[in-house]
């Protein structure tokens, strides 16, 4: 077992407000690790801080045995630490192709652009049909596919996804879940997943963390969590 991403005692927030009060987590290579918790507990803040868009106030972020805590966000992305952000953050007036092409400018992505593009079209054939359509005119589901596709074209070493199924129909939520699982099984992709559909997250995840008020309060292999009655009651309503 090898740890690809290690976060130790991460503290960060917005302006004067401290949101994360010392978050620690590990993501093992080739696994899907999920980060769960109710609204406003700091899941998105955790991912923005790991990606470097938010500065860490203290604590350590190690990626691939290298400390990246102080690196600017674009350097982390160059190393393959990729975030599919909450709310998609596409460039709405650029075409689908342009959105994907922009993700291929780093060295690691450029080398594999054609290959990754094929992979992405394979996963989301709808995108291939809409290559020259403006991203802002895609349906919500298609936009989410494009956001994930853009993440994959960046040629990630780890793909962090923030609520990829937000606002999608139950059928599409399952589809997205299947895609993530396929990426792990077939490509060996490492995933850190924040998901509001706990059902979907536990059905594909290997390991889980539960956050409350800016802290990790529970963690364990998904099987273990599923045997924890408190967890089941709080997050699965069982």
């Amino acid at each position: 077992m090898s740890i690809l991403l290690g976060v130790e005692n991460l503290v960060s927030g917005y302006g004067e407000t401290e949101v994360l009060h010392g978050v620690s987590l590990k993501v093992e290579r080739g696994t899907i690790t999920t980060l769960l918790g109710s609204n406003g507990v700091g899941k998105t803040t955790t991912l923005w801080t790991i990606s470097g868009i938010l500065k860490a106030w203290s604590g350590k972020i190690k990626f691939n045995d290298e400390e990246v805590t102080m690196l600017p966000a674009h350097h982390r992305a160059e190393k393959g630490l990729i975030l599919v952000p909450e709310g998609r953050r596409l460039w709405p007036q650029l075409t689908v192709y342009e959105n994907l092409y922009l993700a291929s400018f780093t060295r690691r992505a450029r080398e594999k652009f054609e290959e990754n593009l094929e992979k992405v079209f394979n996963l989301f054939p709808r995108l291939k049909e809409r290559l020259n359509q403006q991203a802002g005119t895609l349906s919500g589901g298609e936009q989410q596919m494009l956001a994930i596709a853009r993440g994959l074209v960046s040629n990630p070493e780890i793909l962090m996804m923030d609520e990829p199924s937000l606002g999608l129909a139950p059928k599409l939520v399952q589809d997205i879940g299947r895609v993530i699982k396929r990426l792990r099984d077939e490509e060996g992709l490492t995933v850190l997943l924040v998901e509001q559909s706990v059902q979907m997250a536990v059905s594909i995840g290997d390991y889980g963390y539960v956050m409350e008020n800016g802290r990790i309060v529970l963690e364990g292999a998904i099987d273990e969590l599923m045997e924890n009655s408190k967890f089941k009651q709080a997050y699965l309503g069982m």
Binding site: I53, P72, H74, P85, R89, Y97, Y101, L131, N132
Partner: protein
């Protein structure tokens, strides 16, 4: 008394002179459409930068007695390159403090960029008056643009209209400058990044691109184009003084709005259209102030009828953007 001279000759002359003028003034507006239309920085310094370049090249041309290096067809290239460096200065002094770390340009940031660039423009205007040995108005030889290997007359007669060869040359160079800008914005990865940065800068850093670098590039491109076109403007008009800015700036804004914010070719066509309207009115009424008034009336009408720009579709039709394969 206003007399309308509505003759065929006047119309022909108005159109020809208007196209020549429009090509030059259209290219002058390209820098503005890039920085305003694409990056959402309402650049009130644009006109000042154009006039600054025109003043500088006139000063050099007269100081060095028309040496080849300082004639507009040569000078517009290297003064444009100088403008690239000047763009870095412009960005870090004026734009970076305001928009350097902004993710998505909203109205609030457009307004603060407006204030910042206004200040930069005033400062640049002031420089004309504090430099030693710097007069406040220049007139250069009307054949200025045509002094390379020139033989024979400095004018040609076309359809009965007498045209200075140098103005034709300036308008051709304006067209070429436009093509270069169009190519950079629509066919290169730099242009793609520039188009993306105003929409979502943070998303650029998520795919490994430094958004601040892209903002610098935008300012560099816009300033380089502004300064290069300033030299063409001098070559065309043959006289320049700091206060000409108060004519250049509003015209640029009209043209950019006509052309559709951010559309390079649309802006150029906006320039041609405005040039023709201006010259037709001038030919028919003989009064420059009326011609300018007509230009602004066109803007008002255009903004009511087609707020997205009259010529913005041209770019969409001609542009293939980055496609696969």
């Amino acid at each position: 008394m206003l007399e309308l001279a509505l003759t065929g000759g006047a119309i022909t002359k108005g159109i020809i002179m208007g196209l020549i003028y429009g090509s030059v003034i259209g290219s002058v507006a390209i820098g503005l459409t890039i920085i305003w239309g694409v990056m959402k920085v309402v650049n009130l310094a644009h006109g000042h930068i154009v006039v600054f370049a025109a003043m500088m090249s006139a000063f050099l041309y007269l100081t060095y007695k028309g040496a080849l290096l300082f004639t507009p067809p040569i000078a517009f290239i290297w003064i444009g390159l100088l403008g690239a460096a000047f763009g870095v200065f412009f960005y870090y002094t004026t734009l970076h403090p305001v928009i350097g770390h902004v993710d998505t340009m909203t109205l609030k940031y457009e307004m603060s960029s407006l204030m910042a660039t206004f200040g930069f423009g005033i400062a640049l205007y002031g420089i004309h008056y504090i430099l030693p040995n710097y007069v406040h108005s220049y007139s250069v030889n009307p054949s200025i643009g045509y002094s390379i290997g020139a033989a024979g007359h400095t004018y040609i007669v076309f359809l009965g209209v007498v045209i200075m060869k140098s103005t034709v040359l300036m308008s051709v160079l304006g067209f070429l400058l436009t093509l270069v800008a169009y190519w950079l914005m629509n066919k290169t990865s730099m242009g793609l990044k520039i188009r993306a940065v105003a929409q979502d800068a943070r998303a650029l850093s998520l795919v490994g691109i430094n958004p601040v670098k892209v903002k610098v590039m935008t300012a560099v491109l816009a300033t380089a184009l502004a300064m290069a076109s300033g030299v063409l403007f001098l070559g065309y008009s043959t006289s320049v003084y700091p206060d000409i800015e108060s004519t250049v700036s509003p015209l640029c804004f009209v043209i950019v709005v006509l052309g559709g914010l951010g559309s390079v070719l649309g802006t150029y066509f906006g320039g041609l259209f405005l040039g023709v309207m201006y010259w037709l009115t001038l030919e028919l009424t003989g009064q420059q102030s009326i011609a300018l008034a007509v230009a602004f009336a066109i803007l008002l009408i255009a903004m009511v009828l087609k707020p997205d720009g009259v010529f913005s579709g041209i770019e969409r039709k001609l542009s293939f953007r980055a496609k696969r394969g």
